[in-house]
């Protein structure tokens, strides 16, 4: 009963926060509300017994996305508050068709979800049946890294495409030359103490994935957060240009190497022999975590600083 009250309060608060993100008159307030929304979303995932997603949401939704939005806020032109409020009012006045459509969609979705009968999932049984051959004892990791390893490989490819795209639009792959100003002493000390701790936690999460909620994605986003923290403090997370590129591709290439290796050994692409599956998964997870972390940190740095030399010669009005 009390659990229902807790979940109810959480659900209502989430909806209220989501409304406030859009309705806030001040953009900075909207960003802070969004960060809080990420916090409560992680709580909601915890209540839904999905600690893997809760871990990822805690790192990404409450941490990294907040940094990205705050950075974007700094790049927006600042109108005076009355002008902003007037612009908001005009948008609100003209938005009634969107509100009607959204209301209809929400009602339809709600009715559809409420009318579903809970059905036991057939896939969960199949996963448990084959868990012994997968090399790990946590079903989520088994699915992500073994049974559907192909999907994970292609997701790493998507991340690679994202960083390539951002760098292409930016016109330069040079990341290691740009930093923020020197940090205040307390910040420097904090980052010095925090970074080894974060690396340790990332390693712990990576190892944890074998038998509990954790794994490559969670470790990767924590690594990415470490990189972003280092950059925010004014240091280079990665000091060499070529090292950036190596870190970005290592996850994707790791899967290719595993797949080719298995093809040459006579098995199918990405089919691990059950005896050595655990080793395969650990190595692939290590590469994936490194790539995810380096890609996230690289995206932040690339998006913040325009390149010094603009190869395409196009407009470049990011900072005064």
């Amino acid at each position: 009963m009390i659990a229902l009250i807790f979940d109810g309060v959480l659900a209502v608060t989430l909806v209220a926060l989501a409304w406030r993100v859009l309705a806030a008159p001040d953009a900075f307030e909207a960003v802070v509300v969004f960060i809080t929304l990420g916090l409560l979303m992680a709580l909601a995932w915890g209540r839904l017994a999905a600690p893997d997603i809760a871990l990822a949401e805690a790192a990404v939704g409450a941490g990294l996305t907040g940094v990205l939005l705050l950075d974007t806020l700094g790049a927006l032109p600042h109108g005076s508050p009355p002008a902003q409020a007037a612009a908001h009012a005009e948008i609100r006045g003209r938005g009634w068709p969107a509100r009607v459509a959204t209301g209809l969609l929400a009602t339809t979705l709600g009715a559809a979800v409420l009318s579903l009968e809970p059905r036991p999932s057939l896939l969960a049984g199949q996963v448990s049946a084959h868990l012994g051959q997968s090399g790990v004892s946590h079903p989520v990791t088994a699915v992500l890294l073994n049974f559907r390893g192909y999907d994970t490989w292609l997701e790493l490819g998507v991340l690679l495409i994202a960083i390539i795209g951002v760098l292409a639009l930016r016109g330069s792959t040079r990341l290691s030359g740009e930093t923020l100003a020197r940090p205040p002493a307390v910040l420097a000390w904090l980052i010095r103490v925090l970074t080894p701790l974060i690396l340790m936690v990332a390693g712990y999460l990576l190892w944890l994935g074998k038998h509990a909620a954790g794994g490559a994605f969670q470790a990767g986003v924590v690594l990415g957060a470490a990189g972003v923290l280092l950059w925010l403090a004014g240091w280079h997370p990665v000091a060499r240009e070529w090292l950036w590129k190596v870190l970005w591709v290592i996850g994707f290439l790791g899967f290719i190497a595993a797949g080719l290796g298995q093809l040459l050994a006579g098995a199918n692409w990405l089919e691990y022999p059950p005896e050595t599956a655990a080793t395969f998964i650990l190595c692939l997870e290590l590469g994936a975590a490194i790539s995810i972390g380096a890609t996230l940190a690289g995206l932040f740095i690339a998006l913040h600083f325009p390149p010094r030399e603009n190869l395409s010669g196009g407009p470049n009005e990011r900072r005064p």
């Binding site: 205040p184 910040l187 000390w189 904090l190 925090l194």
Partner: protein, 99 residues
């Protein structure tokens, strides 16, 4: 014996909850930004501290208690530094945000 531990744990958690309440009330009612900052650091340190102490007492294993203590230390570290940095921004920049 474990009954005593449970009651002790409940008591400590309640004290921690009291400090969290104090932090929230301070955040809402204090007249000045810097005063509010003062209030919330109490919730950070003492609120979480007593809560962690209570939960550690109730938990059955030393490993869990150790992890809880580590989490509290992390929160202390991060919270104290973050609050200092936020205050410093305001002192050097009294206008506040882009209002």
């Amino acid at each position: 014996m474990s009954g005593i531990l449970n009651v002790l744990g409940i008591g400590l958690c309640l004290i921690g909850a009291g400090f969290f309440l104090a932090g929230t009330v301070g955040l809402l009612r204090f007249p000045d930004s810097l005063c509010r900052l003062h209030a919330l650091t109490k919730a950070d340190n003492l609120g979480l501290g007593f809560m962690v102490l209570g939960l550690a007492v109730e938990s059955d294993s030393l490993a869990v208690a150790g992890k809880l203590a580590l989490i509290w230390l992390l929160a202390l570290l991060a919270g104290a530094s973050a609050c200092y940095l936020i205050a410093r921004t305001t002192v050097h920049d009294p206008g506040g945000g882009p209002e």
